[in-house]
Symmetry: C2
Subunit: 648 residues, 2 copies
Amino acid sequence: MNIEQKNGSTVFKKTSDYKPGRNWRNYLIGRPLQTADAPQQTIGKFLGLAVFSSDALSSVAYAPQELLLILSVAGVSAFHIAFPLAIAICILLAILILSYEQTIHAYPDGGGAYIVARDNLGEIPAETAGAALLTDYILTVAVSVSSGVAQLVSAFPALFPHRVIIAVVLVMLVMVINLRGVKESGTFFAIPTYYFLVVMYLTIIVGFIRFFTGSLGLVPNAPQDVLNLHQTLEPITLFLILKAFSSGTTALTGVEAISNGITAFKEPRSTNAGRTLIIMGAILGSMMLSITYLANKMGALPSEGETLISQIARTIFSGQGVLYIAVIAATTVILIMAANTAFADFPRLSAIAANDGFLPRQLTYRGSRLVFSRGIATLSVVACLLIILFQASVSKLIPLYAIGVFLSFTLSQAGMAHRWWKSGHLLADQQIKERGSTLVHEQGWQFKMVINGLGSVCTGVVMCIFAITKFKDGAWIVVLLTPLLVLIFSTIHRHYKNLAKQLSLDNFAPSPRIAHQKVIMPVSGVHKGTLAALRYAKTLSDDITAIHISSDPIETKKVQEKWELWGDGYRLVVLDSPYRLFLEPLLAYIDEIDAQKQPNEVISIVVPQFVPKHWYTSLLHTRTADTLRRVLLYRKDIVILEVPYQVN
Amino acid sequence: MNIEQKNGSTVFKKTSDYKPGRNWRNYLIGRPLQTADAPQQTIGKFLGLAVFSSDALSSVAYAPQELLLILSVAGVSAFHIAFPLAIAICILLAILILSYEQTIHAYPDGGGAYIVARDNLGEIPAETAGAALLTDYILTVAVSVSSGVAQLVSAFPALFPHRVIIAVVLVMLVMVINLRGVKESGTFFAIPTYYFLVVMYLTIIVGFIRFFTGSLGLVPNAPQDVLNLHQTLEPITLFLILKAFSSGTTALTGVEAISNGITAFKEPRSTNAGRTLIIMGAILGSMMLSITYLANKMGALPSEGETLISQIARTIFSGQGVLYIAVIAATTVILIMAANTAFADFPRLSAIAANDGFLPRQLTYRGSRLVFSRGIATLSVVACLLIILFQASVSKLIPLYAIGVFLSFTLSQAGMAHRWWKSGHLLADQQIKERGSTLVHEQGWQFKMVINGLGSVCTGVVMCIFAITKFKDGAWIVVLLTPLLVLIFSTIHRHYKNLAKQLSLDNFAPSPRIAHQKVIMPVSGVHKGTLAALRYAKTLSDDITAIHISSDPIETKKVQEKWELWGDGYRLVVLDSPYRLFLEPLLAYIDEIDAQKQPNEVISIVVPQFVPKHWYTSLLHTRTADTLRRVLLYRKDIVILEVPYQVN
């Protein structure tokens, strides 16, 4: 123990011996972990791809289908536009990958859109990026799980009526897994991701072989439900094409995941992360193109009942055999893994934002398993509500999705562009330490600025297209929600800043020592509890006034007689309450005393409170202390003490 | 001011100047009344009959109809049994009136079943009477209001689909009137009651004249809905007759009202009350017989759509003219008045029972208008629930009704019989002061005992008949509920008795004066709020230990540095919490200190608590003091002080 340090204060250090016991929560989510147990493992490119790409790669399970779904209002003949649109999406993907590769090198400690916007664009853009991302993580869970369930339902149509409950149960399962704490490394991620890659490429390759050898026919019994909805066909307008393009861009969600998690990579981590990003981009692009092409050629149709992946798989593998089941299983699992990614990102981002004072501080608290449990719980609950509200329909959820992602892309790239501009205006040996990274002068900053600028403009344009074309279908919810969230974040931030300022000890002159305590003790009856409170009150001061609010003369007489016997000679004020009120006369009396108070005096209200053994019996008593506390908490220099007297 | 009384205590007396302000509640229920404003008016027989008879007299609006309804399962031919049953009911009424007349003289201060059972039979019978009566007051409201609405619906069939909502609105209206406080006197009661009497007797007299002159035909278009329900007729069994008899006895509910309200009568109050009771009995009996007889002769049929009263009125007055409307209006109003009687009785009885410790004490509190507001609110809410549950159908509510009344009759009369036996065994000049009355030797106690005994046996038999014949139709609810309520009352009573015993100062030896305070002050950060708490803590003791639970080393370092600067040299214990918990390590530490405590020491936990201006911002903070208080309240000799620091 280090005694008598510096100006005389004595600081003792000790580690608590408290060990959490066993209970149902530990049973469900595992035994509590010590802070020192936090894993510090890093991973290479092979595992990195597995850990961070499930969100992006799984998009191919729904993006081509949603693209076709939009075109279907113009009839089957419009489907020939799908492949050119897929190529446009891949060009956008390439621009994004280039942009993000630069971000990864600039922010080796993690460069999510929120951090980049905060450091380079300011508070409001940071809040906007935060709001957009948090909204989109929730939608990632809802869309991915819904799409996963849709794959299952394609293989087992009997499950169709139960899809909402299955989706909710899956979200809960992922929640519990995340509350236990997933190690973002290792084979847990690698096996399903690589399994998905192998199965998907196998499907695509077999598909192309059969197509070029001419043995690939059309989808047998392709589901007609969506086509039948449109009796009169709409013309192919620019609006329709842009709307279809927007739906297809949902394939790009999840591309930013690696930039959030750079610290998980082995050194040189920026290089490793950057290369992983490029590999992921190549895989995603090739899959997107292949699936759209094959689906088109084999006449697969978008449907609520059977997914495009299911139609492709059963056509390529000629029926619902082992390989078909393998494709469905792989797709379902990768979609659930994608939801799992959001479960890593949402709590982390909300903790960062909470630490910056934009969200309630409680979100920074790490639970017993070292995860941000409150963020995890919030995410699960909201995602489940969305799933229930939208009946686990991917097509209904898609219009809300991806606006947030593209908004965050735009802000992130704009922030990066601004950063390059700042970097270009530094001297060669100058360094600026920002919160998320260190800024130095870089060669070729103009070129890099152009790349990020291009990325920002492109994604910005896509976001606008998305918001406009999907506005009526549900995008309006996000368009309204995002500014509302920004407003909430700002309000919270202002509250915390104001609080910190008011509590700050800068230029603080301590108040004079308290010279005198006035004790007021409300007494409803004289019993052991009252005397226990009086015994305590005596240690505070000799200026004690017991006060009895009288509305029943018989009761009052008893109190008075007993006080004369047991009150140790202290003052008893009997305050007659003609309206039978208790609180108001007492408060009026306290006000009176308060008005005469000296600056170095404090009023202590000592409330005798007997505490019954069982909490529910408190329904049989008026809890005076609680009521008084609620009211007096807002009054300066009044302290309420509840002296408990335990009754068995 | 009386200074220095008896053993040196100083008692000051004062009347609070607090005047309640204006708010929406005052606007709704009127300005608050001072306790001294309580009315002390007494009334004579004429007004007494009006005030106390609405419950009893209004029963004729449903009792004959419900009697016929039961008989209808055996077809129209069974209706000839109705009149003999009505005579049997009148004989029972006569016995009851005789019995209660004796109660009124024995209990000039009010002799409700609860008081008579409590004073003469003991605790469990008193609780049973209380439970039975409280249940039945609720049913009185539900049945009377439902029947009132049924009268309205008979005249205006278009209202039928809205009957539940009309009934609920009426209950709410009666609630508000009662929360304002009804003066149980004056013309408010006299006008509708005497209006009802005049209109009913007019109807009956005109009916008999037309019947005996042969000009009274059958009911035109008598409603067939109930008859059509029974395609196959049941035989007339003893069970059926007894069941019909039970339904008819609901006419006797409300007979006990006068015995509850004797104090409201002018002196000689027992004589006045007794005579009023006899007059009421005569009116009730004559109406019951007349209506049953006339209904039979004119072929009126029980129905859900049109009441018997409506059929009789439109037959006697040949159509739905002014006189018909007058009858419907009078019946509806008297039924609402009957509900109003329950609103006087339920709160009064629950306050008496609460004062005896069988119900939560809060029920004894008189609201701003000097009425037992909480009892009134409880009654309204439960009655409305019943109305909604039973869709305002009198026939569905009737099987639950009247068992409670007859149980209370039985207990009350049995108590009276026992009282006469006690009275007979006193010496001529002996007096026993019981809680509700004074017991003296009375001449002819044997005869009086026989009368009350007969009343008890008769009502007991009826109660059993009622419970058995109606068991399946809903009586089982009451049969199960009553013992459950008795159990709850006993449990509450035991709790209060135990509490009083534990708090009692009999044979109490005061604890030694507190010699030393150990102050523990949890500190999460060092700011103005912390220093305000420290300033207060210094007035308690010099033995102050600040304790910081550390789960973030950076935060801890800041706290430690600031404490060294501002902590005035007091101890700071830094308690490292490896599991990031706050409460548990702190409690473990307090336990440690607690274990070493001397008997004359007390531990005070001083919790600094900054108080934001708006309550809702408290969502953004962890309210440590609240959590600690909840846990430490149950620990002996630990006091929690929350020192508030107000932030603007």
